[in-house]
Structures are given as structure tokens and as C-alpha cells.
């Protein structure tokens, strides 16, 4: 295999230059630009719901990229799971945490400049290394699709059965974990906070609500005893 690949790459290096892109490459570049732009908007927009929607664009763009890379099954799974369920879940999450609709000026934390620095440095390093390493590597997209549903299914159920089953157990565990987490938080909401520090730490609205709670909920005698 290795000898074949060296032959191929050396041939590709000679025959395929970056200045003469194929059609697939042009499509990949355009979709990639859209995806990257959507991703950038996702992490910079000040409207939280818009961020989720731009995430849909980015993930969808990635699905198209998978298609261009002949990995059709992955592409459909990407659309089904990411665009179909994950983003919906995230939108629900935004809703449940009472995320403000519209522009929120404090969407970015004070850490943004450090984050920008780290991200740009990481990007520079990664791009440099990747380009340096795979400048001449050529993917031959002709022939039978590498990621057709048939090929993927055969590989998955011939070679990857055991990890696949283990993954199902992991999903079950995640399911149970999510349920337990929500149940526990519910119990905590109805019963008093376990440690008073939690109440001390809470932000303004909750502090105010807890200020109003004792008068409303407790009998006067208990109030005296507590104070």
C-alpha cells in the first residue's frame, strides 16, 4: 500500500498543481468558504439564536463537503443528527435558559482577546503544519465511492461490530445520565438548597426572589427563630 501511495502522490505532485483546480476542488473551496464563514459568525454573533441558526449553515456546509468527498452515508448522518437533532436540542437549551432574543452585548466574555490570540496562533500553527505536510498529497476521487452506504455498512458490521455495540451501551448510559441529572435538579428545586453557599452565590434575580421567599412561605414563628 505504501509503495502505491508514494507512487500516486509523486504522480499527483507532478500532474496536479494548486493553480489548476478541478471542478470538485472549486466546489469544495466555495462550500468550505461558506462553512467557515458561517462558523465564524456562529462564534462571534451577539444574537444567541442566530448563532444556533448559523451553526445549522456551518454543519450543513460540512455535510456537503462530506458528499464532495464521496462519503454520502456520513453526510446523511450529519444532516440527520446534527442539523436535525443537535441544533434543535441547542435551541431548546437556549429557550430553557431564558436566553435573550435579540442582541445581547455581553455574549462574549472578557477573555475574548486572549481567546483570539490563542485561536489565531493555533490556526497558524495547524495550517502551517498541515500545508507543509500534505502539500502534494492527492486524493483520487474517481472510481467507486469510498463512503457509500454499502461500503460503510459492510465495514461497520464486519470490522467494527464490537465498538458499535459498546457505543450503544454508552448511549444508554448517556440517556440514563441525562434523566438522572434532570430529576435531581427537579428535586433540588422543590426542596431547599443543600448548601447555603449556593444561595449566596446566586445572581441577582434569584437572590431577590429568595429574599421575597421567606415572607411568603414561612410562618412568623420560624422567621423569629431563624433571625
Amino acid at each position: 500500500m505504501s509503495s502505491a501511495s508514494t507512487v500516486l502522490t509523486s504522480a499527483a505532485g507532478e500532474t496536479h498543481g494548486f493553480l489548476s483546480p478541478t471542478g470538485v476542488e472549486i466546489a469544495f473551496l466555495l462550500v468550505g468558504l461558506v462553512t467557515f464563514g458561517a462558523a465564524l459568525v456562529t462564534v462571534t454573533t451577539k444574537q444567541l439564536v442566530h448563532a444556533a441558526l448559523w451553526l445549522v449553515v456551518a454543519l450543513g456546509g460540512l455535510a456537503v463537503e462530506y458528499l464532495l468527498l464521496t462519503a454520502e452515508f456520513i453526510a446523511w448522518v450529519q444532516v440527520l443528527i446534527y442539523v436535525g437533532s443537535v441544533v434543535v436540542l441547542l435551541l431548546f437549551g437556549l429557550m430553557l435558559t431564558r436566553a435573550p432574543i435579540g442582541r445581547s452585548p455581553d455574549a462574549d466574555s472578557g477573555n475574548r482577546w486572549a481567546a483570539l490570540l490563542v485561536a489565531v496562533a493555533a490556526a497558524a500553527a495547524l495550517v502551517w503544519v498541515v500545508v507543509d505536510a500534505f502539500r502534494t498529497t492527492w486524493i483520487d476521487l474517481d472510481g467507486p465511492a469510498a463512503g457509500s452506504t454499502e461500503a460503510t455498512g459492510a465495514s461497520l458490521f464486519q470490522n467494527w461490530v464490537l465498538p458499535f455495540e459498546a457505543l450503544s451501551v454508552l448511549l444508554l448510559a448517556a440517556l440514563v445520565g441525562a434523566i438522572v441529572l434532570s430529576r435531581k435538579t427537579k428535586a433540588e428545586m422543590s426542596s431547599p438548597p443543600v448548601n447555603s453557599r449556593t444561595a449566596t452565590k446566586s445572581s441577582r434575580p434569584v437572590t431577590e426572589s429568595s429574599q421575597s421567599v421567606p415572607g411568603a412561605r414561612t410562618n412568623p414563628a420560624e422567621q423569629e427563630g431563624a433571625s
Binding site: 466574555s109 477573555n111 490563542v118 496562533a121 493555533a122
Partner: protein, 664 residues
């Protein structure tokens, strides 16, 4: 059993008793009293057997080398001659009496177990000193006595007086012990051995290179232990301890250790004329000064304490004129009657509820309340004042006789100046001794006024002991001076006519003058009421005494004296009384000379430590603290900051790794 075995058992038994008492004291209180009394009693019996077997013949010597030391060997050695045998009997006798007495005296004391164990340990240490034939082993016993004395003086540690007194006793005796230790080393280096027999042998052959230095160094330790001027100041203060402790430690045994030590090593001291003169001057100053101070004291026990210092002065005086037979004779008789005096004083304090003579002189019928103490104390005071035929007379006359021998040039043991000093001071002290003995007796037993408070019957253990102790004071002296020379050096101890007449004469004069003064002042007593009495009808004697000691200073403004115009000593001493009452300002002098400079030095050192040294330490700590603050500042709790730093570091590392891998 051989004599050696018996002799080894003598110090060992009280030691084992002390160890058992300390171990079992809390768990088995029932065993404490037998454990205190029986080993001491057995030691007394064994010491008596040893004395009989030794019989003043050739000294018993036994030695076993502990371990080769490479230089001067240290050996477990016994050296029992006539002195050792008899002094051991005295120690055992007094210790037994004190242990029996203590069972009654500290009947209800919660700390009795440790007290009894310490007394046993003390007895054991003293017996070790007496029997030891090796100077190092002797030093061990010497130091154990010091520490036991510290603990026992501080027995009533609830009172500040006892705490201060125990510290003072410890520090002052230690002040003497340091030169003593150096002196011992110097002596052993010169003589090549710690064995007493070899030391004496090399002294006899003139082998000592620095006799004066060694003698003076040793003298410092002896002055500390035997309470001689100028290191005597701890002994009067040590009266803050329980009375049996005073009787055992500060009258009969520990203070006698110094005298006994000189008696053992007298040839070393005789090798230096200067040391003998110093010894004589020390003895003279000690005996006259302490006798004057005793006359002015108000606390009955302090009177006896100063009297002890004076009598020890007689002994050192006898040693200064080179007659150790007379010194040890006086040591023996004094040990008996001084123990009796202290124990009787304990009974009186218990009955009167006070230790103040001024308060006792305003009490009627104290005599009838404690008849045993009255009679035995009278005997002991007569012995103290050296009235014939009591034992004190014979021993004191033997001292004066020895001095007279030197003065008249009958011996070449000591310089004539020493003889004159001792003789004159001895006669003067005889006068003063009789005076303070009379004063004590008159004030304590001939008081007039309200009835003494009833403290119940004295325990049988306490009164019987008094009579037992009275026997030697009464009768033994007349017998002893004929027998003792066989045990000692063979020097004649018979009183000479001149000193006997002179000594008894001045004693009588002192007594009569004091009586006259008392007759004169006693009428004033009723006019000036004074005195505080601790009444604890159900409490044991120790409790009463502790309260009496604690209340003396608040009641009279001073632990030593009382502003009593009816005191005959005021008439006798005149303007001197004020100074004598405080021990001639020696304590104040020491405070000014030593305590204040030391405290000032300590303040300076504290300043240097706190302000100078600590500044550097604080400065050195500032930089790490700043760094720590910076690191703390980094702990913001913001996860994003942490992850940013983590990833930035990762990027840097990766770039570095790539650069290194590609060789760029």
C-alpha cells in the same frame, strides 16, 4: 550477704521504692504509704548493719568499671569508711522519720504519691553520695538531690512563694554546681582518676598541680549545696516547701552533703593554705551573719533555716581548721536535732494555724495544745544552743576545741589565722544561737492572749517521730564523743575545759539577755494586736502550712519579718534588726548585681531578635509572599482563562516540538 552487697542495697532500695511509687501512685493508692516508708526503713536497717560490720575499721572498698572510657575511667565504686557508715545511718534515720511523719502531715494531699516517691529518690541520691567511692557517681547523686529539692520545694506550687523559691533553690545551687563540675574534672585530670582513694593517694604524694584552683572551684559547689555565704540565699526561701521536706533536705541531708564532701576530700583542701583561709572566712561570715538574721526572722521555719546555715558554718569552720571528725560529729548531732526542730515546728504550725512568731506570741496555751512538740522542741533548742549535756554541746565544743587546737599551735593541719577566725566567730555565734533559740522558745510557747484555734489532735505518726528523734539529741552526745574517734580519724573529740566554759558561758549570757529583753517587750504584745491565722480544723497539716505561707506576705507585707514592736529581737539588735530581717540585703544586692543586668541583657537580646534578626527573616519572606500573591491572583476561577492558558501552552509546546523535529 557481704558488706558490699548490703551497702549496694542501701541506696538501691529507696530508689526502687521511688520508682514503684511513681509508677503505682495513681493506680494503687493503697501501696503508696508502704512503698514510701518500708524501703527507707529497710535502707536504715541495712545502713546500720553496714555500720556495725564496718565498725570504724579498715574502709570497705569495692569497684567495678562500667566501661572503658579511654581517658579517666569512671567506676561504680563504694568507699565506706567510718564517716560514710555513720552519715548513712543518719540519713536513713532522718529519712525514715520524715517519711513516717509525712504520712500524717500530708494525710489528705492529692500529690502525696509523687511527693513520697521524690523523698525516696532524694534519700537514695543522698545515700549514693555518702557511699560512693567515685567522684562521677557522687556527682550523679549530687545532681539528683538538686532536682528533687527543686520539685519538693515547689510542692505547694499553687503559691507564688513556692514557685519562686523552688526556682531560686535550683538556680543558686546550679550556680555553684558549674564550678564544682569543672573542679571535679580538674581534680580528676590532676589525679588521673575519679576514684576517691586514688585521688587521696595522689594528694598524699603531692601529685596535685593546681590545689588552690581545684579547692576553690569545689568550694563553690559546696557553698551552693551547703548554703554557705554567699550562695546561702536559697535556703531561707526554700522554707516555702512542706515542713518534712525542710527537715529532710534543708537540715539533715542535702545541705550536709557539701560538708560531707569536703570531709571526704579534706586532704585536697589542706593542700592549699589559701583555700583553708577562704573556707574559714566563709564559715565565719556565714555563721555570724546567719545567726543575726535568724534572730530577726518572724517565720518560725525561716529562723530554723538561718540556724541551719549557721550550724553548717560551724561544720565548715571545723573543716577549715582541718578537723573533719569534729565536722562530721556536728553534722550527725545537728542532723538529728535540726530534723527534730523542723518536724516539731511543723506540728506547731499546724496547731497554731500560722508560721508567724508574732502571731504565736499572742496565743495562749499553745504549749498545752501540743505537749509533745513542746517538750521535744525544748530538748532540741537546748541542743541547738549547746547547753550541756545535750548532744549539740559536745559536737559544738569539739568544733571550738579543734579551733583552739589550731590557735594554740597544736596542729599543723591549718593556718593559725583560720583557727582564730573560726574560734572568735564560733563563740560569737554561740551567743547569738542561744539568743535566737531562747527567743523562738519564748515567743512560741510563752505567748499570752486568745486561745490558739483547735486543729484537732495531732496524728500519732507525727508525735511519735518527734520522741524518736529526741533520743539522740538528749543522750547520744555524751556517749558519742568517746566512741566516735574510733570511727573517725582517731582525733580526740572530748570537750576541752576552756572552750566548754567559754562556750556555755556565752550561750547562757545570750539566753539570759534575750529573756530579759522578752520580759521587757512582752508587755507590749497585748497593746499591739497583730497576726493572721489560717483555721482549717479538718484540714491536714500540709494544707494549714501552705495557707500560712501564702498568707504571710499579705498579712505582714513581707515573707521574712513582721512589724511586731513586741519582738525582743528589735530591742536586742537595735538598728541592725531592719537589715538582719532581710538577710542583710543580699537578695537586693544580687538583684542589682545579677538579675537586673541579666534581664537587661535579655531585653537587648529580645530586641535584637525581634527587630533586627526578624527584619531579615521578614524581608526574605516578602519575595515569596509577593510571588504567592501573584500566583493567587491567577486563580480566578474562570474556566475559560484556565483553558486559554492551557491551550496557549499547548500551541507553544507543539510549535517547539515541530521546530525541533524538523531541525529548524
Amino acid at each position: 550477704m557481704t558488706t558490699t552487697t548490703l551497702a549496694v542495697l542501701v541506696p538501691l532500695l529507696p530508689f526502687l521504692g521511688a520508682a514503684a511509687g511513681l509508677l503505682l501512685g495513681r493506680t494503687a493508692p493503697g501501696f503508696v504509704r508502704p512503698l514510701a516508708v518500708l524501703p527507707t526503713l529497710a535502707a536504715l536497717a541495712l545502713a546500720a548493719v553496714v555500720a556495725v560490720r564496718q565498725g570504724g575499721e579498715q574502709a570497705v572498698d569495692a569497684a567495678t568499671e562500667l566501661t572503658p572510657t579511654g581517658s579517666v575511667p569512671i567506676e561504680l565504686a563504694l568507699h565506706i569508711d567510718g564517716f560514710a557508715a555513720l552519715v548513712a545511718v543518719l540519713v536513713g534515720f532522718v529519712a525514715t522519720c520524715v517519711q513516717i511523719y509525712s504520712t500524717g502531715y500530708l494525710r489528705d494531699d492529692p500529690r502525696y504519691p509523687s511527693y513520697a516517691a521524690l523523698v525516696s529518690l532524694f534519700t537514695s541520691a543522698m545515700l549514693l553520695v555518702v557511699y560512693s567511692g567515685d567522684l562521677m557517681v557522687l556527682l550523679v547523686g549530687w545532681e539528683i538531690m538538686g532536682i528533687c529539692s527543686y520539685f519538693l520545694v515547689g510542692h505547694y506550687w499553687e503559691t507564688p512563694e513556692a514557685r519562686a523559691a523552688s526556682l531560686k533553690a535550683f538556680l543558686v545551687t546550679k550556680l555553684g554546681d558549674v564550678p564544682f563540675l569543672i573542679g571535679l574534672f580538674a581534680l580528676a585530670t590532676d589525679a588521673g582518676s575519679f576514684r576517691i582513694t586514688r585521688v587521696l593517694g595522689s594528694v598524699a604524694s603531692g601529685g596535685l598541680d593546681h590545689p588552690t584552683l581545684i579547692a576553690l572551684l569545689l568550694l563553690a559547689g559546696v557553698a551552693g549545696k551547703s548554703a554557705q555565704f554567699p550562695l546561702h540565699t536559697w535556703l531561707p526561701d526554700a522554707m516555702a516547701g512542706p515542713t518534712p521536706v525542710s527537715a529532710l533536705i534543708h537540715a539533715a541531708t542535702m545541705v550536709a552533703a557539701g560538708v560531707y564532701f569536703i570531709a571526704r576530700l579534706l586532704p585536697v583542701f589542706e593542700a592549699s593554705q589559701a583555700a583553708m583561709v577562704v573556707l574559714a572566712v566563709m564559715a565565719a561570715v556565714t555563721m555570724t551573719g546567719s545567726a543575726l538574721a535568724a534572730l530577726a526572722q518572724d517565720d518560725i521555719k525561716r529562723v530554723l533555716a538561718y540556724s541551719t546555715i549557721g550550724q553548717l558554718g560551724y561544720m565548715t569552720g571545723a573543716l577549715a581548721v582541718g578537723d573533719r571528725g569534729a565536722a562530721v560529729f556536728h553534722l550527725l548531732s545537728h542532723g538529728a536535732f535540726k530534723a527534730l526542730l523542723f518536724l516539731a515546728a511543723g506540728v506547731i504550725i499546724h496547731a497554731a494555724g500560722t508560721n508567724s512568731l508574732a502571731a504565736m506570741s499572742r496565743m495562749g496555751n499553745l504549749r498545752d495544745r501540743v505537749p509533745d512538740a513542746f517538750w521535744t522542741m525544748t530538748v532540741a533548742l537546748l541542743a541547738l544552743a549547746a547547753i550541756p549535756p545535750f548532744s549539740g554541746f559536745f559536737s559544738k565544743e569539739s568544733v571550738l576545741g579543734a579551733a583552739e587546737h589550731v590557735v594554740t599551735g597544736h596542729t599543723e593541719h591549718a593556718p593559725g589565722a583560720a583557727g582564730w577566725t573560726v574560734l572568735v566567730a564560733g563563740l560569737l555565734t554561740a551567743l547569738l544561737t542561744a539568743a535566737y533559740a531562747t527567743r523562738l522558745w519564748l515567743l512560741a510557747f510563752r505567748g499570752r492572749g486568745t486561745e490558739a484555734p483547735d486543729h484537732g489532735r495531732q496524728p500519732l505518726t507525727m508525735t511519735v517521730v518527734l520522741w524518736v528523734l529526741a533520743v539522740p539529741s538528749l543522750a547520744v552526745g555524751a556517749l558519742a564523743y568517746r566512741v566516735l574517734p574510733d570511727w573517725f580519724d582517731g582525733r580526740d573529740l572530748t570537750p576541752t575545759l576552756a572552750t566548754s566554759v567559754l562556750g556555755t558561758g556565752v550561750a547562757l549570757v545570750g539566753a539570759i539577755v534575750t529573756y530579759a529583753a522578752w520580759r521587757h517587750t512582752a508587755t507590749m504584745a497585748a497593746a499591739s494586736p497583730i497576726g493572721a491565722v489560717a483555721a482549717h480544723p479538718e484540714g491536714d497539716a500540709g494544707l494549714v502550712e501552705a495557707e500560712a505561707i501564702a498568707s504571710h506576705a499579705p498579712a505582714y507585707g513581707d515573707v521574712a519579718s513582721a512589724p511586731d514592736p513586741a519582738d525582743p529581737s528589735r530591742l536586742l539588735l537595735g538598728p541592725l534588726h531592719r537589715h538582719a530581717a532581710v538577710g542583710f540585703h543580699l537578695d537586693a544586692l544580687y538583684t542589682a548585681l545579677f538579675v537586673r543586668p541579666v534581664q537587661a541583657g535579655a531585653t537587648l537580646v529580645r530586641f535584637l531578635d525581634r527587630e533586627v534578626v526578624d527584619t531579615y527573616v521578614r524581608g526574605a519572606g516578602a519575595l515569596p509572599r509577593l510571588l504567592g500573591a501573584a500566583v493567587r491572583r491567577a486563580q480566578t476561577g474562570n474556566l475559560q482563562t484556565y483553558v486559554s492558558a492551557l491551550l496557549a501552552g499547548t500551541v507553544v509546546l507543539v510549535v517547539a516540538a515541530v521546530l525541533v523535529a524538523t531541525g529548524a
